[in-house]
Amino acid sequence: MDSSVFTVCIDGAEVRASEGQTVLQAAQAAGIYIPTLCSHPDLVPQGGCKLCVVEIDGFEKPVTSCATLAAPGMAVRTRTERVAKVRGLAMELILASHPADCTSCPSYLHCELQAMIQYIGVTHSRLRTVKKAHGVPDPRNRLIVRDMERCIQCGRCVRACRDLRGVGALAYLKDDDGESYVSTVDGESFGDAGCRHCGACVEVCPTGALRDVDGLFAKEGPRELALVPCRNECPARVDIPSYLRFIAVGEYGKAVAVIREKAPFPLSLGYVCARPCESACKRDKLNEAIAIRALKRHAAENGSAAEWRSAAIARAPATGRRVAVVGGGPAGLTAAYYLARKGHEATVFERLPAAGGMMAAGIPSYRLPREALASELEVIEAAGVDIRLGSPIGSAAELLASGYDAVVVATGAHDGRRLPIPGADLPGVVTAVDFLRSAYLDGGAGAPARVAVLGGGNVAFDCARTAVRLGASEVTVLCLEAEGRMLADADEVEEGRGEGVAIKNGVSFVGVLELGGKASGVRYESIRGFSFESGRLAVDALPGTEASLEADLIVFAAGQAPSLGPGFGVGLSPAGYVLADEATGATGVRGVYAAGDAVYGTKSVIKAIQSGRVAAASADRYLGGDGIVDETLAVRPRLSGRLEAVEGFESLGRLRPPLSPPADRRSGFAAVEGSLDREAAGREAGRCLQCDLRASMGAVATWSDLAAVKSAEGAEVAR
């Protein structure tokens, strides 16, 4: 036996302990519950709450087990009369200066102290009630609520901030009467105290004294995930804080490797990701979200492929199985990529003459340069995916019959919707899908002088801004939504306006005007509001406000749907979507899986990628694989967790990539948004609060979850 491992006797049981372990740690490791409020698995012991006292043979009186090292042959008793007496009085003392109204406390039912009150079984009654004056929560603190009335001065937060983070924003202080309390140094706001907003103090606080502001983290789902809101919100769960740390130190290749663990399109995403992560970013509630997408692009543009390429195209030994993927957009390509990596023979059948789906045929090139997309298609092909362009597929059954073992349907939603108004089918009326495809894929013609786009989402602005670039002189976006409530991103609206796009808000469409058998404009009326009742639009029109706008081309940007017919051989919803299980992508048909917009409608590239991963995993399992598509492409450095205080950290503002001037934008299809420079990228990545540090902290075992049976006995004795 290792000499540093020995046995101690705790409550009559022989328990293994190792050198350097405290009695408390040895007991916890053996599933023996000892109450404590000031100790925490990640923190140095303070020995201040005295709840962890135990009797040890040879010691004259009970000692704190958190601060006593286990030694060979020690005989420890955790539940004796003397121990109960010390614990009981300690608890009474703690409660004497703690508010008695638990039910009004936001931490009610999630509070270690409250659980401890039940365990020790004492009440507030015997002692003098002490009211400590610690002020009201400081409104300057936007992320942390400090409710010091409920503080029991256990000092966990002080130790977490000082010892784990090296920040030292919190301390034991003395008021003018000499009364001690715990607060930010000098009573400053967290920001002024150099706080890095890591949340460690909140995590360790056993009471309601330090809390996250309401709504900071999602309530559903596993807590480790919820604590990192950017990652939690990312459909593919890209490990954002890890790659931001790589970017902060200039390790761009490793940053790309981290992104590639979840998505084979880091550069394209760097241009066009819908960035749900940024909307969820914890820093957004402090001042401004981290520019995650711009940082991703910077890394993908500057990182060395040597860091990831060989691993990212490595394939498992050939399985001899063949998979057909119908549709070469982000969902299909992602599915094919992982299936190829899993050793299957993966073939993508793309109907259009270019791969990329909407990334090639829908998203304007001023938002996503096609060379960026091409560089990522190259990696996918290098991983063994066979992409066949101009190859429409009639049915899944036909593929299965021709020797494919599995099929992934990822045909997207390329059917533009036409509004049900008179004149919708006239020449001169097109759908957004068709308009954009002709512009970006068919090497489209120019645009006429006057273009009206009906719709208020991002696609409407894609059409409008494309029309501007194609030479239209009068481009108007008309939509139901009032100003400020449009579905399009604020950036899109802003940039579109800058390029000369006119916007007409709060109108509904009466009909398309006709002149000489061609569309000549659109007739509309103003509305007070609108709603969707069981999927049908109901507008509250303002009588007498009908007006017309003349236009040579009308673009309907009013949504799009999949174009599969029943003949394809998979179950379809009444609206034409493929019926597939969300968690697996399985359709009702054996061996046929579905992914992407065809399943759930137009969403985002990153969602399509995740959907492709899910379908690939399921198809792999179906083909006899383990279904694991997660991988580690970059080894994370061991984190010390130390952040150090940084003056002014809280108010560091978001650094924005440069935008080319409107005049240049109007005249060409070059990328509108520039790239962050190296220095800005480092600084921007350094603004990240590193929310994952908190998620990796140890958890306190409570008496209800640690050795439930034993602790129940303990409670009896303690009472």
Binding site: A67, A96, G155, D177, E179
Partner: protein, 228 residues
Amino acid sequence: MSGSYICGANGLPSADASALIADKGAACVVRAALEIMADARRLSCGQCVFCREGTIQLHELLKDGTSGSATGEDLELLAEIAVMVRDYSGCEMSSKAAGALVDLMGAYPDEFDQHFRRGRCPALACPAYYTVHVLPDLCTGCGACVQACPEAAIAGGDGMIRVIDGERCSRCGRCLEACDGIAKAIVKAGPVKPRTPDAPIPVGSWADDGGGRRRRRRGQENPEGGVE
């Protein structure tokens, strides 16, 4: 390996309990304990519950015990907490302070009992437990006390024997000091009160006729508090 308590660095309570135990003289030991605990409470670094909350409770209990708002149960609580703070606080400062309290309680159980259970301060040091009076046969009518009183609690003009209004008097003791060098006519009284006129009367006209304002009740013939 426990946390770094810094109470010690804040200093130790100033009062010296062992000297008091050797010879308390005329001092009130409960007040001495009160002062020790006031210091200890102020000096606690706040990191350990017995030191931080224990000294607060002991101080509060002693405040009540010296101001007439304690009960006999409070005395037991005082003893219980004092022993626990002495034995289990993490630092020398509070364990010394609580130890001094335990020792004082052991050496002078009766004084603590008088304070907590009977509402008396034998040393007449606790304002809640005494009243202040002008002895009519000693008062010269000089009025120095009237000048000194911040509460305007003393009635009577030139040549009159002054009378203190017990309701108004805050027991600050300024009149005692003022009169000390003149006639020593002002005294503190415990449960047994000296006989005084109800209202000012001319100097020399006081005759102790055995009537008037007699506060003495049966069973208190042998006042421990006495008259100073």
